[in-house]
């Protein structure tokens, strides 16, 4: 039985430390919607998503009321659209727009799955599909796209990497009036996971069931508060404290995930143990690293502190949940974390340091604004670097980078809401085009051959 202190602690976590369930994401398989034509497929997709998703918002609101814990986002992920539109890839945007309309149910903020998995090679239909991404992201509101360009098992598809550099640039150009928000809804992955509940990279893998509920927990503020109670503890004790805190947060996620799945007649998928920051004060992953002892995030020691944090979150969370998955770790998006924004504005954190941090955290170069005149081949080279880190280290890495068209270092982009704002960060100006134009693929590493 819990004590009175436990009750008051939980309430303080919600009231003062921003404890919340970051997202309930319903994964829906669209494989049963494939028809002879794009029009008919789009209609089926619209009907299915509307029917399945109609109760997500109410269920989340009921659970939030009953448990007294806010559930911030209600989302949907679907089977990669490139697969269900393989017979008519040039018309894939019809399905994308149908999905966006289906997600217009009040309360659903994003729908992920306008995606292609091309980690080994790009099929003809996928090549056409990927080229539709910028226009679809520019003409929809809630739809998110992702492309898996590499994996530890298959290497890195450099043709896809090159194409993604161009796609990022075009997505930003088509939405330049809104600071390039198209690019903020697009992710290039290496080792993409099939059950990630977080946007913009969520999609419902083909190995998944019909309808699944995945939940992403959060709570950087809770972890920071716990560390503030032991300012002079050594790092072993700090790691223990993070583990214990992650356990509590994840248990809340597990409870909500199981109950949500039951009420939505869906399978309980996974709990994603991620610390996801928001631009709100007190909800920052950077602030945890600074509480551990780095003066400003980006300084020497940041990678070590992040490694400790990421690992302790996983260890605490794994015991708290019967099924763990997704990305599970600490997120380091620049625009969505007030500590990161400040460090970037002060020039204390660089792209190179962020890249190093992605070797030990759960994602990659996330929500970083770069000068609009950055060549597509340079963006492709950043994607290749990140994919290489993921491939060699058997982890998921991602790139969600925003070329701010017409802007330069010193300016900023502002998306508002959860996506936040980001100062334009400098990139290396040396030319990477020869590497990118070589094409082909980077072979899988020797340690991937485990059979």
């Amino acid at each position: 039985m819990f004590s009175n202190k436990d009750v008051l602690d939980t309430i303080a976590m919600v009231e003062k430390e921003h404890l919340d369930i970051r997202t309930i994401t319903m994964g829906i398989s669209l494989l049963s919607c494939v028809r002879d034509s794009a029009e008919e497929t789009a209609r089926k997709v619209y009907d299915l998503v509307c029917r399945k998703a109609e109760n997500i918002v109410k269920t989340a609101s009921d659970l939030s009321g009953e448990y007294g814990i806010p559930i911030v986002n209600k989302r949907v992920s679907v089977t990669p659209v490139s697969i269900i539109t393989a017979a008519f890839p040039e018309k894939a945007p019809l399905v994308g727009k149908a999905l966006d309309e289906a997600a217009a149910t009040p309360g659903i903020d994003f729908l992920g799955g306008y995606s292609a998995l091309v980690h080994k090679a790009t099929a003809d239909y996928e090549r056409i599909f990927i080229r539709t991404i910028p226009e679809v992201l520019a003409s929809t509101k809630r739809l998110c796209a992702s492309v898996n360009v590499g994996s530890s098992k298959s290497g890195i598809n450099m043709e896809a990497v090159k194409m993604l550099g161009e796609v990022f640039k075009e997505a930003a150009t088509l939405t330049k009036e809104q600071d390039g928000i198209g690019a903020a809804k697009l992710v290039a992955f290496c080792n993409a996971v099939e059950d990630n509940p977080f946007m913009a990279g969520a999609f419902h893998g083909v190995g998944e069931g019909d309808t699944v509920v995945n939940v992403g927990v959060s709570g950087p503020g809770v972890v920071k508060h716990a560390l503030e109670q032991i300012p002079n503890a050594d790092l072993t004790e700090a790691a223990e404290m993070i583990k214990r805190t992650a356990f509590k947060i994840t248990r809340a996620g597990q409870l909500v995930a199981k109950e949500a799945a039951k009420r939505l007649n869906a399978q309980f998928g996974i709990v994603d143990l991620s610390l996801a920051p928001t631009p709100a004060i007190g909800d920052s992953v950077a602030a945890i690293l600074e509480e551990l002892g780095v003066e400003t995030v980006g300084g020497h020691g940041t990678t070590a502190a992040l490694a400790l944090l990421n690992d302790a979150v996983k260890k605490g969370g794994v015991m708290a949940s019967s099924r763990v998955g997704g990305l599970s770790g600490a997120f380091i998006p620049v625009s969505e974390d007030i500590g990161m924004i400040r460090a970037a504005e002060a020039g204390k954190i660089t792209l190179d340091k962020l890249e190093a941090m992605t070797c030990v955290c759960s994602v990659g170069l996330d929500m970083i604004a770069i000068p609009g005149d950055t060549p597509a081949t340079t963006i492709a080279a950043m994607i290749a670097d990140e994919a290489a880190i993921g491939m060699i280290n058997n982890k998921t890495t991602a790139v969600r980078i925003i070329p701010a068209i017409g802007k330069k270092v010193g300016d900023q982009v502002n998306f508002g809401g959860l996506l936040g704002r980001a100062p334009i960060m400098p990139v290396h100006e040396c030319d990477s085009s020869r590497l990118i134009h070589r094409g082909g693929s980077i072979p899988a590493p020797i340690h991937s051959f485990k059979n």
Partner: protein, 89 residues
């Protein structure tokens, strides 16, 4: 179904009476109650049974919160499972 009602705020006369009268009116039975005063700060935690209440927990929680505002206190009503989940192994 059991829930936990937490009442916090500045100490004042008649808080327990007002809250328990409100709960009785809603068909909510108080099973356990503990209360402390820290300085001028009042904190009361009650374990309640909702089996005879006609309303859903989420609606009751909302009403408790609104009733709390009227008497200048913060009131939460939460399913006990959240505390069991977070604080017991």
């Amino acid at each position: 179904m059991r829930a936990v009602v937490t009442v916090t705020g500045k100490d004042n006369k008649g808080i327990i009476a007002k809250v328990s009268a409100f709960l009785a009116e809603k068909g909510v039975n108080i099973e356990d109650i503990s209360q402390t005063i820290m300085g001028k700060y009042f904190a009361m935690i009650m374990v309640v049974d909702l089996s005879e209440s006609k309303e859903e927990l989420s609606a009751l929680a909302q009403e408790c919160s609104e009733m709390g505002k009227k008497i200048g206190m913060t009131i939460y009503m939460q399913h006990e499972d959240i505390f069991n989940a977070m604080h017991t192994v």
